[in-house]
């Protein structure tokens, strides 16, 4: 990470005080993906 990224993180922290945080978005995205797999909308993820 550069100083740029660190500053972005700080700005993000302030910005997210009134919005949904990165953390929460990540959890929501992961759960939506898990539900799509659970209910068969996405059947297979190759690796």
């Amino acid at each position: 990470m550069t100083a740029n990224d660190a500053t972005l993180d700080k700005k993000s922290e302030k910005f997210s005080a009134t919005k949904i945080s990165w953390d929460t978005w990540a959890v929501l995205a992961a759960f939506i993906a898990a539900l799509l797999i659970r209910f068969g909308v996405v059947k297979h993820i190759p690796w």
């Binding site: 993000s12 990540a26 690796w47």
Partner: protein, 366 residues
Amino acid sequence: MSETFAIPQIKQVQVKPAQPNLQLFRVIPGILLLAAIGYAGKLLEQNVGKYAKAHHWIFPNIEYVLWAILLGLAISNTVGVPAIFRAGVATYEFWLKVGIVLLGARFLLGDVLKLGGVSLALVAIEITGAIAFMTLLGRLFHLKPKLTTLLAVGSAVCGVSAIIATQGAIDADEEDSSFAIAAILALGALALFTFPLIGHALHLSDHAYGLWAGLAVDNTAEASAAGALYSDAAGKLAVLAKTTRNAMIGFVVLAYAIYWASQGQAKTVKNKAAFLWQKFPKFVLGFLLISVLATYHFFSKDQVTALANLSRWAFLLTFAGVGLRTNFREMRKQGLRPFAVGAIGEVVIAVFTLGLVIGAQNIWGW
């Protein structure tokens, strides 16, 4: 030092925080770059070994994790990351957290409680020891008290996130937090290359090495990568140990906020429960919830495999981001002083946690 941390690129291109719900189009190029580098790493893993074998060359088996990091490093340190990609590249932590939550499907609750119990005890010892040692080191080097606090929290808990959370809570200078972040990240980059070598030299088991990486490497992305560079199993354990450390962030930051407020040098914390919730990393709860669902067979075996594969894809983007954001020229500019203080602290913490893990390995026979 403020000159060192000037951010001309941000001023030039007006990069704003890339929230996933906003500015979607701004982040797409960078995300595509992460995906391209990560996928190239995966292709290199599959094909370089085959090619070397076909030509009877002796070539080590390099995993996609290292290829993705090396490709990212090569770009970042030669041509640099063009402005159009920067907002998307900054989403690597988002992918890391998505990957960790999905990884919960591979841990049954019993495993989490069993491993979590051991790692929780080791984490408590690590946090206490690291804070005490870094505080002592800060005093010896006559660092500013708040800078010492930031370095102590960064080394003891979870790198950049902890430093940023603490900076806001104790009203520390921006310069101090940049100082601490630079030291923690430079050392995290070094750990990526040194930890697997030390682990192999000491013949550490996957279990012991994974715990060590999760305890000693400070930033979550580097801890996950350092674990995955050793083996898949070590990567899982590194994430578990690091997640346990992350869960402590709210408590440590709250303790420091109360201390600095009592010194009249920070705002008083009025609602402690709200403060803890605000600072608590939500992805830890997501990880545990997915683990509970997997334990109660909410997912079939094939679905758990699909979730694990999706987690790997998310980590692929993360590891590409780890390489892309590491710029050795920027690190050199930070100067020797924060690096020296951080390096002494990190080496002592790494040796201390290695001792803890080897002791635990002998007791539990991992």
